[in-house]
Amino acid sequence: MKTFKEISLTMVCLVLGIIVAWQFRSVKYNQVLAQYEKKNVSEIIDELLMEKSNNDKLKVRLQELQQEVDAFKNDQTGDQNRLNALEKSVLEARIMAGLETVKGTGIVVAIEPGGFKTIEDRHIEELLNELKATDAQALCVNDERIVATSEIRNAGDYIMINGRQLVPPYTIKAIGNPGDMANSLRLLGGILEKFQYYEFKVDLKEDENVVIPGVRDDGTVLRINMLTPVEQ
């Protein structure tokens, strides 16, 4: 009787031990799973926030357009207003294309190689992308305006932008919110810290009067001869 009791107790403890161990493993596995889920959730939240803010912007835009159309329909102010509105939209499209010289508040960054490393296309590109991310409204490198078809490429020791060779020091100008733009560049582990490591000499200035020239208008940078508009 006593041996039976001992054996059964041993069996029970053994089974319990196995179950606990199994449980422990499954909890651990679930934790890993939960981490993946969590990452997944945070990605979904990011995307959701982006979509929501987009929708808010679109609603405002729709309202503006509707007002504009309504104003056109029951307009008593006459043709002059319409002409003015059209003139304005032509000018704004030219600004967007990069054809107009513009000025405003922004930052000016000058970079010069100081040590073992030359400045390459990807360094300039990275810096420009950082500024684009903070909603820069106009950009140029050594007075070459950045437009939709501006390439940024190495050509020997130089950098080519808009088909022109640029030499250091590179001066990047951007119009937009100067504080935001400067902060995004100075971020811990950000691009200026990396440039410091490369021993580039960097000079960043906030400026109230940044002037950015328009792109040359000879059909070599903004090209349209192969484009046919599509009616929609």
Binding site: N30, K52, L83, I95, A97
Partner: protein, 235 residues
Amino acid sequence: MKGHHSVMFIAFILFGIIISLQFRGVINKSEVSAKELTVQLQAAKEENRKLLEQISNVEAEREQLLNNMGDNIGNENLNKLLGERDYEYLRAGLTTVTGRGIVITMEDALAKGEMDIEEYIIHDSDVNAILDELKAYGAEAISINDERVIFSTKPVCAGPTIIVNESRYPPPYVIKAIGDPDVLYEAIETMAQVAFMRLADIRVDIEKQDQVVVKKYHLYRSLDKMFEDLEVVRQ
């Protein structure tokens, strides 16, 4: 001896409850919220699609009104301005265009091999390099997943998706470019980055086409607001 039994009994019951609680807690929490969020996300995307559609309807109406105005009044200035506007909108990327060119389709490797996992996914730098190459070889209009590339476009690869302009897209990434198809094809086909991507089983298909359609830039804000911080300098 009897008291000992009942203590053990209670201890084991507690033990069991705690284990099952923990087990359930770990599984449930995130799963439910992920589902809810996905539903919300779908709804937001649907709303986004509807808004874009409404906007393009109103834009078409405005276009119609403007054109009618020109015809009705026969005002020469007005007609001249309308022509100018079409021309500048074309140059600004605010018009959908078509022409000969190439279409590049890219997709992450399906299975991970023995290299670092980073080698098997498409990076921002790869997409940027391709864009720069296209621009350098004369591309006139470019889009990524139908988002028009303008001066401020900066594609970002985030996880298994790409963010272009204001929106996020899952793979495959489709880059369309209008320009000389032979020149563009040759330029992209011979890029070192493209060879490296193909080595890692990343799909990079390049196709010449006679009728590439590059969509116009979707304005999420009026041009007025897009450029509110700058003024034009006339020389």
